[in-house]
Symmetry: D3
Subunit: 335 residues, 6 copies
């Protein structure tokens, strides 16, 4: 169980207005680090998986230094963080509730990661000892060069026989550098072994070929969608989807042999849903390495994603025991 | 869309114990300005409507100065704030949840607004350029002289051909200066063009003549109630009611031609419901000016009131786009 | 209505990570005093019952001094707090939500109360003027000597004709000094007049003799359980159970003549459920003294326990009027 | 050392903007109870003196209830708190530093204490067992009736042979009910045994007869001032003055036999100077009862007043040991 | 006294770690708006001067919208805020004490103001009705185009006969777009009527021609420095310098007729020194318009700058009365 | 510059009441990790020195897990943290100011470190690759077995030729397990190469042999004291003392060739002086490894200790550049 997992992406500082206030309603921000790929590495490290996080951060920048320390706190391997010119990316957030959606305002222009491009990272060093590579559809969205760097990363992984997982993570607010998101994301799927996505994002990428009607979360419709992905992209070994339906959260896994629908969790009083998908992705990677089979993996991943809803910040701060308690239906006060 | 709306009432400082604590459980108060009529002006100004707030505030008082600045922050026209002797009114609040109601403790005795009376305000200046006047049943409750000043305001508006909207806003804890609330409120309805109320308050004022049985929120019963109001007070052009039923929030509009029931919103995880009725009132005024018809107006108003439940403080801090997102059923995280 | 109630147990300082954070996620703890038996005394004193709290606290310790002041703030009689060697007991807490249980980590080893034993307290002075004695299954759990001291307390009460109420309060994380919890708790039930418990804890103590199947909260099954307790322990005059079923909270009372099921309350948005059982216990003691009969008592107690869910801290800070408002179904904003 | 001290005055809620912000710069207030005479009682009770606080507070008011609990927390005897009509008095505060003075804005109009008058308090009960009575020049300032009630209190004390201490406590912002402050305060001095004041206030009351030139804190000038007071008011047994000179704090005591100048303390980094004079007054009362002579008393009092500068809130939270440590010049970290 | 003052520059959001923590030591930032030229406008508006703030802010950006509201709160005329492409500029700050300097980390790259250039602003509209124009050496530092836009602004002012004041405000961390700061700043001085600076910055710009030795704050040396400026730049009517010497703060004014050294203030316990120079600049502009002569102006300005040290945030929140109290040496607690 | 430094001691959680409040005045604690030897390791790691921290922490304890993560955040080598039975040690703190000393209340009884004894640590692994060992007089104070374990550590270091530095760190509140502190500390000095202490502690240990009169900080007296230490303990290569004199902070170094008095720093506005001695110790170790000679080392160390006074928490969070800025006299705002 000493799988060496590498994740690659951009780390961000999230600035959230307190409680559910509008931005700058009070003169204060809660500040946490995040970024989908860092979130995955942080969670894996806490579960005892050797996780290395690769990124390009601004040189001599105190935010970047603090980010590095924060990763180290969780035991993430930060030996392959690269420095480059540019800013440290930020995002501002307001938390919604009921009918009011949470709002994210990105401030990533000119960030070191968006200015980086092919050649910025020494992939030989980054993948030294690695068995698994995870990245997402966010970095390809931030700039053409960052997209090319991500392609380079995936190709370098595949050249070394490293398994590739890819989380679609479509971000409407980011894609503006020229190519349509769906085209780019589809190209990444073609290089992926394990595809992770929310139902809505996968449906968007598969586009007009949506093979079934019915409402979100409809089991038959989701199974058809996942089947379509598996047939269109024969390189895919596994597709794992998260499904939100009102206040419930669950997941589906499909591979050649299995279609599994997980336990459905009530997440009606979320503390912080940001990063739930990343906790799910980490759960899939952990489960595939450490648990008995794909069914156990996706159940573990769904429980981890559920748990993340209750934990403030981008990072899922959980142990394997914490996830197991969710799987076992623990409730109330544990004393 | 440059309607000049005037609102009149008393601005208050709300002191809330943090989280859901009892008063002074911690040695801290969260402090926000409010007051029904200021809430309406603040919301209208953010939606691009020229809104002037008229009030009587204590002279040389730093709370009054801060209140004026706070209104100006939202673009409210404060040129007709009048100074007079007295205190700045306060209210203390504890937030409840589930079976525990929120508690309001007023501390308004001796306030400048309650000491003011007819002649305190130059209505000619106040209504200069005005097309609409909005006030509520709160100011008439705080003292006999404040009630008389409010009557003077409504009459001055009518004399100038300014449309009058009135929100019943019955406050049990305030009415003690002599005349029964129902009598006074009924007299105001007689001078009103657009009546805004919660179902319960309208039922209370119409009193024994309640024309229908059935439980709160029952559509037929509400329609009958609104019909009774329209027939008893032929001056009324429009009646708009907000209806709470458990954790749902919706509204009804009735005029000579229309009876419309709005979308029903889940507000089961409210952040701060204070001011939801005022956001609804502002939505009605905005909608009548800027949208196609009464149906669109009341739908917009209901969505605004729903949105206010998610926003801390008395003021609804929203843009037209924010309300539109509620109308369109936005959810989750907008990124 | 000047019943003199004595409660005995250990007072603790609870250190809670803010919001729903994991322990030390932020460099801050919210700190409140608690302890089941202190919670009962604090609530009774606020309802006008003379309540004396007996405990053994570390001498010359500033936390103990602060605890004593905090009790005095609520009007609790602290004249029989005894000093002894040892630490002041602590517990750390993380608050959960939805599928994540709250977590309690005790740090009570070497506390003054756990080092105390028979002879530590002058029971003659402690029970002077007393009519009722309340203690719980927590103190017997912390050490053999503390268990023996609790037995001494109950026997001293019975010798003086003082009514004994006992709350099972099983704490899995504490019982490790040698004897099984179920054996010890059963011995306490044999000395009890009024038994208070959660359904689950009573079922655990009655063990294999569980006389009925069915799921938690099933009325018939609960009635059978309570009946079994009454027949096995003929000393019991009254059994009062709290029942949680999903997000609902209610209670059952059984005595020779009555089996009563209370109103069922929704507690789906709890602020702090810790101490709800203690508020229920206080409500039973209050109700038996001040209300008409057992049915009224358990209804009052259930409402008090419901109310506690909405109040931060271990202590239920409520007046009789506050509980009455819950009984009457008050909602929304009381203004 | 079981002297029964009675103090009388108005309790207030202080609302302070956080840090050194202007009022409502942030939407928050820190809230503490205070009032000169309550401050004295609270400090005496912590030093083991039986202290009873007499006041008139608004009936059924949650702030008054919280104030009563807060006093009880410190062991103050609240059995003679009287209820009457009116509000609970408030004051708002901004904290200054360096060249910016702190600012107090009173909001006491219509308070229960200012509406009270002769006959509001049962002085027989209030002075039952009392040996010492302490009041200040604040209550006479708030209204004519409150002034008359204070006169009644002092006369009732003298009739019973109770020693009277009076702290001038001139508050420029309060005196507006008709009579000049200097006249009224002079009349109180005529009924006083132990006069406590700041140098500046005593100089103001003695007025044109200021017997010496020189700058503030000049020893000879202060001695002459105190001598003038003793000769003009032969009823005075003791005069104790606090002297601020830049960032230093010290005191002077004069009686028939003694003129003592205390240690001079540096208070250049004050946390909260409000209540320092009250801690000094309490120190005088404590010292006269418990220490060897007037010199020891005023040294203890000066150290207590110095200590108060370091403690947030109106109340001085200190033990006798804490004051002794100041007297002994403790510094740094006590570990 | 209705002088129309226009200021031009970039508004920034300052993110400060709480207390004196290092950046991200806690997961929180205090957030306030600032920017030298906005600070001047905000203070002038509070003193009753009509102040218009001209800037280029990112379009559709919620931070820009909040900044605009914040200016409006103080009564600043925001009618000439222009929108353009780019980010909203930020700066991060750690507060030092004693031997640890405060640290500012700019994050302004790609800001709307730095991307703006000649033609971005309609100066005809901006200077409509203006009598005075104030800008500083910060905007010329952020980019070549912003420098050119500032030159355009100054020329436009001069063309319209508007008096120009210029604050050197050298920021070492910003100047990197090509030309040396000293060259550029010297060119601005040539277009200036009233030059404002700290002693150190003026010395730096005058360079090798420093006409006198001696240590910082040495009166003769400062007078010589100011004399040198007046002779080298005959366009200068007035030079006003702030001088820090250890923990003291004072100012000097020189014009053809006057050399005045102000009162020296102790600022040894500063709450927030950021913006003190801007408060000084505002004080000069106010004083020249509203007070008797240059001596009174610079004394007022020095007192305003002193006062700013005690006020949290970039903005000086003060009234004319507040400054007057400093001039009159007010101390302690004003009650 | 890749010296491998090992430090050994007990890590503690410090719980501080906010601002300068008395313990539990507010229901909140600020919580930071500390402990003299951890503080040294944390600072060294930030300066690029490989630092390994050895301790015995309670097994399966969430506070211990958080402590480990916190060390890892700074890059400390935590591979030799040992688990054992017991609690995690705490200390409570109140911050003083001016005449009020800060107060520390230890709660370490039963801690894992105090229960540990010889054999608890594998010193072979701990010292693998080590060149320097640092420990202090605190661990020998907490229990006989911990003292014996510390002796074992020092002997193991000496056996391996590892240089030993020892910081006296006398803690009056801890020494109660039997032997007098002075005897035990003297035995440790006999095994020490580099002795670090405050002037007062060294004077206490050298006892009656104090070779010189004069007041604290008197240069001649301090030089004589250090000389006496060097002659009495010929094993000592270097003695480095910190000297506090009122609000100033400086240091002295003595070895065979040198007696150096460092720059004297003003620390009159300390943010948190806890850990200043540890920052000084770390500075000595860093300086001896990385700087030119003993004079440079002690100047660096004194500046680091000065800097620590400005940084909240036990840990000194500084870079080499930060210390250099202090050495160079940086002031004000660095922008």
């Amino acid at each position: 169980m000493r799988a060496r997992v590498v994740t690659f992406g951009e780390m961000l500082l999230r600035l959230t207005s307190p409680d559910h206030e509008r931005l700058l309603q009070s003169a204060r921000f809660d500040a946490v680090f995040g970024g989908a790929e860092a979130n995955v590495a942080v969670q894996l490290a806490q579960w005892g998986i050797h996780a290395r996080y690769v990124s390009v951060a601004p040189e001599g920048n105190p935010l970047a230094a603090a980010a590095r320390s924060e990763l180290r706190r969780f035991g993430v391997d930060v030996s392959c963080l690269v420095e480059g010119p540019g800013r440290f990316g930020l995002y501002f957030m307001e938390r919604g509730t009921d009918a009011r959606p949470s709002r994210v305002v990105y401030d990533r222009r000119g960030s070191a990661a968006s200015l980086a491009g092919p050649g910025s990272v020494d992939w030989g060093r980054a993948f030294d000892g690695a068995e698994w590579f995870h990245t997402t559809g966010i970095t390809p969205a931030i700039s053409r060069s960052a997209c090319e760097l991500t392609v380079e990363a995936v190709e370098a992984a595949r050249d070394r026989g490293v398994t590739v997982s890819f989380d679609l993570n479509y971000r409407r607010g980011l894609w503006d550098w020229g190519r349509p998101a769906t085209d780019v994301l589809a190209e990444f799927i073609e290089m992926t072994d394990v595809l992770i996505a929310s139902e809505a994002h996968l449906r968007m990428v598969l586009g007009s070929e949506d093979p079934a009607g019915g409402r979100t979360g409809d089991p038959g419709r989701v199974e058809a969608l996942m089947g379509a992905a598996l047939s269109r992209y024969p390189n895919l070994r596994t597709v794992a989807l998260t499904v939100r339906d009102g206040s419930s959260w669950s997941a589906r896994l499909a591979d050649v042999e299995t279609f599994h629908v997980t336990t459905r969790y009530d997440v009606s009083r979320p503390v912080d849903p940001i990063g739930a998908g990343d906790a799910f992705a980490a759960g899939m990677i952990y489960g595939i390495h450490a648990l008995e089979g794909p069914t156990e993996a996706v159940e573990f991943a769904a429980a981890a994603g559920c748990l993340k809803h209750s934990i403030p910040g981008d990072f899922c701060r959980s142990t394997v025991d914490d996830v197991t308690a969710v799987l076992e239906g623990a409730r109330g006060v544990d004393r």
